[in-house]
């Protein structure tokens, strides 16, 4: 599954740089939204059994199973806590943004 690439948008700096009609290069709506998050999931790989329940349930599809260990993409994770709530091994903890993991 292809992950959305973050395309840095260049705002026009003069009239000549304005596009023809309200259009723009594709992909500019993809912005990292990590600023919204109040809490973030922290995955303890030693407890993870790779059951993939979190991967299935994540409403945003930010859990990557393509490499050996599961990775959560913090650019797009919104901190909803579903993964932590459902993990049968309690391998995921939700930690307040800005605070260290316990």
């Amino acid at each position: 599954m292809a992950k959305p690439k973050i395309v840095k948008f260049q705002f026009p700096e003069c009239l000549e740089e304005m596009p023809l009609g309200p259009s723009a290069v594709a992909g500019i709506l993809t912005e990292p939204n990590s600023g919204w998050r109040v809490q973030r999931p922290v995955l303890d790989h030693s407890k993870c059994s790779k059951c993939l329940l979190c991967w299935v349930l994540c409403p945003e599809g930010v859990i990557d199973k393509s490499k050996g260990e599961l990775e959560i993409d913090m650019n797009y994770c919104k901190g909803c806590g579903l993964c932590a709530h459902e993990c049968p091994k309690e391998a995921i903890q939700m930690v307040r943004e800005g605070q260290d993991e316990q």
Binding site: E31, N33, G35, W36
Partner: protein, 182 residues
Amino acid sequence: MIEIRWHARGGQGGFTGAKLLGLAASVFCNHYAQAFPSFGPERRGAPVLGFTRVDSKPITDHSQVYTCDYVVVLDETLIETVDVTKGLKDGGVILINTKLGPDRFSFKGNFKVLTVDASTIAMEEMGTPIANTAMLGAFAAVNDLIGIEPILKSVDKGMPGALRERNKKAIERTYGVIRGGK
């Protein structure tokens, strides 16, 4: 005319505070007032602005508020990401909802910083950290423009019965904090 800018995050009732202030100043006092939220495209991450204008004569200005005399900050975490002093006039007042004292804030410019722990007072009186009405009480204490009575009346008008008395208690407490010192 005085202009007040409210800083909050969406859902904290920042604009309701701006509106109730306008209601208090106009319907329950003898000023004219105007209140509106930020119409701008800054929806992402939800810092929102509210504006209140108060004057002794009818307010016909329908342009945006660019400079203000007072800034009210409902959520102190905004101070890190937003310049809450932008447009605040020299000698203007910043009223912040925080546990910290005024000396813990350093803003560039000649401003008077006042603080009140409105969230805790709101939590104690109303069981919710929605601090907008409590901040209204604090604002009423900052000058003699409106006074606490019109604020209490505007809460009477704008709130359903059960919440009314608790909101008013919170307002009286924050008013007392600013007026009487802690």
